[in-house]
Amino acid sequence: MAGQTTTAELPDGGQAPAPKISLRDVTKRHDTQLALDRITLDIPASTFFVVVGPSGCGKTTLLRMLAGLDAPSEGQIAIANPEAGHPQNSMVFQGDSLFPWMTVWDNAAYGLTMRNVPKARIDEVVGHYLNKTGMYGARTLYPHQLSGGMRQRVSIARAFANDPDILLMDEPFSALDEQNKTLLHEELLRIWEETRKTVVFITHSVDEAVTLGDRIMVMTAGPGRIKTIVPVDLPRPRNVVELRHTPAYGELVYDIWAQLREEVDRARSREPGSKA
C-alpha cells in the first residue's frame, strides 16, 4: 500500500540529457497474476508520452507506480528530482475524482492548499487555470452541478495548477462524448504548449494518442510488455481538427492501430466464452 517510487538524482555526466523518468525491468504482480512484465523505458523531459494498449494490459498500474500510489514488485523506477517548490507529479484520474464536498475553486486549489502555498499565489494560479479551462465562471459550484466534461476540465485545472514536474493522465477523457473530447484535446494542447511539462498519458484511443503525443508506446495484452514505441513527428502547435485531415495523421493512426489490433485480438481470445 505505502509503496514509494524511488526519487533519485540521475547521473548527469553523459552527453545525452538524463531522462525525466527511467524504468528498469519494472515488473508488477497482483497476487500471483503478472500484470506488467519487465518494462524498461526512458522518458525524456518535456515529452508528451502516450501509452496505448488493450484493456487489462496494466496501463493504469504503470501510471500508479509512476505516481507512487503503488510499488513495483521488481525493478527500479527512477524519477528526476523536481525543481525546488514543485511537486514531482500530479495525476488526472480516470473518472470522477473531484471531491464532491468542495467547490470547483477549492478542488482546483487542492494541491496548492496542501502545500501551504500563500493565498495570493493560489488565487493567481487557480484563477489562471480555471480561466484556461473555461471553468472560472463555475468556481462556486459543486461537482454535482457540473456535466462530466466540466468536471474533467476542473480535474485538469487541479493538476496543472499544482505545477508539478510531471503530469500523469489516466484516460482522462474516456467517459466523454466525441465533441467534448475534441474541445478538451484542444484545451489540453494549448495549455501543454505553454508549459511543456513531461506528460505520461494513458488512453485506449489511437486517435487520441496520435493527436496529442510525441511518442506512443503500444503495450501487449496482459501481462503488459512494451510492443513498440512510435515517434510522432507531427508539427506543433497542432490544430486538432485540421490535423486529422493530414495524410501523415492517417498513416500513423493506421500503423498504430495495426500493432494494437493484434493485441486486442489476443486479449479477446482469452476472455471467457471466446473460442480458443
Binding site: F93, M114, H144
Partner: protein, 257 residues
Amino acid sequence: MSAARPRSLWSDRTISILSPLVLLGLWEICARTGIVDVRFFPAPSNIIGHLFELASSGALWRHVGASLYRLAAGFVVGCVPAIVIGLAIGLYRPVRAAFDPLISATYPIPKSSLLPLILLIFGLGESSKIAMVAIGVFYPVVINTAAGVRQIAPIFLDVGRNFGASRFNMFRTVALPGALPLIMTGIKLGAGMGLVLIAIAEMVGAKQGLGYMIWNAWELFDVQTMYVGLFVIAIIGFVMNAGFDALERAIVPWRKG
C-alpha cells in the same frame, strides 16, 4: 376516475397536520362523553391547560432546563470521541482491528440496562445522567462515522495522497467531509437515543428533569402532569430532529443533486 395523479406537497402537508388534530379531537370527545376513563386519559384540553399552569409556575421550565442541559452535555461528551474514533477506525486498519470487536460486543447491550452500573460508578448526581446520554449518542455516531469513511471511494484517498495531503489533512479534507452525510445520520439516531435514555435515567435518583417529573407524577397519581411530560418530550424530539435536518442542509450542501 383516471389513475391517481401526484398530489401537491400542500395536500400532503395538510394531511399530516390534520391527522393528529383529528385524533386529538376524537380523544377530546371521548373524554368529555365518558367513553374513555378520564383518570387514565384526561381530555387534551385539560392537559394543555395543565401545561400552561406548570409553565407559568416555573416548575416545567426547571425540569425542561435540567433535561436539556444533561442532553446537551451528554451529546457533546458522546459525540466528539465517537467522531474521532469512528474516523480512525475507518482510515486505519489496526485501529479497526482494535475497536471493531469491542464495539460489536458492547453495542447490543440495551443501554438502559447499564443504568445501575452507571449509577454505581458516577453516583446519583449529574454525571450519571450525562454519562447515560453520552453512551446512547456514542454508538450510533461511531458506527455510522466508521461506515461513512469506509464508503468513501478509494479514488478520493488516492487524490489526497497524490496531492500531498498530510495525515491531518487526510482527516480534515477527505475522511471527515466524505463521511459527513453518514455522520449526520448517526448524530440524528444518537440524539434520539439520548432523549430516550435521559428520560429513563431521570426516573431514578433525580430531583428534577422531565423523566423525574413523569415518574413523580406516577407516584402521586397526577396523570395530567404525566401527559404534560410526555408531550414536552415529544416536542423536544421533534424540534431536535428539525434542527439537525436544517444543520445537515447547511453543512452538507453537496448531498443532494
